[in-house]
């Protein structure tokens, strides 16, 4: 494996560059995935049948916590990648761990939120609106959950194998994934919650 030392570790081999570009293209596909979910949500938003309307079930507090937690986690993983580029393995692991812990908090609040919806009678089967809402939030939440496992695997590998072209590459790609989830959340926050409560 040829290693190009003029590049950051995560770009240093041909395969690494392929992986990064490939993942960006995958994110392009993810944009369409979430765009489709948003299309469904906007179309079905007003079609509540006999169930509750958006304004009746949304609560600002958990949403605010989720938003702040996810924004911060996006910041910390950015710092993690920065630390990685400085070769500071332990600092990087700390930042990545912080990120995952914040992700866990996010997930906890989201589970609370889902329980709340269940209690106020907004279940998956209630109406087209609730189905679209829970599918959109659920898809994002499932991405976060997958990210928690994936991130843990990567931290374990960095711990065990150190910062190699391979582990650095994986960590960088994971950071792209995490930032992307943050971007998606911004859109959920703006166009599902804030629009719904307006």
């Amino acid at each position: 494996m040829k290693i190009d030392h003029s590049q950051p570790l995560e770009y240093s081999t041909d395969q690494n560059q392929l992986n990064i570009l490939g993942f960006w293209i995958f994110l392009g596909a993810e944009i369409m995935l979430f765009a489709t979910l948003f299309t469904a949500y906007f179309t079905l938003e007003g079609r509540t049948g006999t169930g509750p309307t958006p304004a009746e079930i949304f609560e600002i507090t958990p949403v605010l916590i989720e938003t702040l937690v996810l924004l911060t986690s996006s910041f910390t993983i950015g710092l993690g990648v920065h630390a990685m580029r400085l070769g500071r393995k332990n600092a990087m692991i700390t930042f990545f761990t912080t990120t995952l812990l914040l992700g866990l908090v996010f997930l906890g609040v989201e589970i609370y939120e889902f329980m709340h919806y269940y209690h106020v009678g907004a279940t998956y089967q209630t109406s087209a609106f609730t189905a679209a809402l829970l599918t959109t939030l659920g898809t994002h939440g499932a991405h976060v959950t997958l990210g928690l496992f994936w991130g843990t695997f990567i931290i374990l590998q960095v711990k065990k194998r150190g910062l190699t072209p391979e582990t650095a590459n994986k960590s960088f790609i994971f950071s792209l994934y995490w930032h992307f989830l943050d971007v998606v959340w911004i859109f959920i926050f703006s166009f599902i919650y804030l629009k719904g409560m307006m």
């Binding site: 570009l21 950015g78 703006s190």
Partner: protein, 93 residues
Amino acid sequence: MKELFPAKQVMGFVFSLILTAVALLVHFTDMSFSFGMTILLITAFVQAFLQLVVFMHAGESKDGKSIYTTIFYGAIIAIVTVFGSLLILLWDM
């Protein structure tokens, strides 16, 4: 310690918090729907762009052009899909 917190990323984080606060004005103050939507559209897209450039380093490698093309192409098709579908199913039904 200081080298672990580069100014660019800290500024980016602060700016994203400000954008979130501005978006929240829509909820906490009384404004018309179209004005609120305008604010949300601006804050959301600026925020997304911020993440892309500051945190995701989209343009840093020699594939930057391909990456930006992918994302913008995706964004255009996404917008067409969302608004086209709304036109078909809601606004012109």
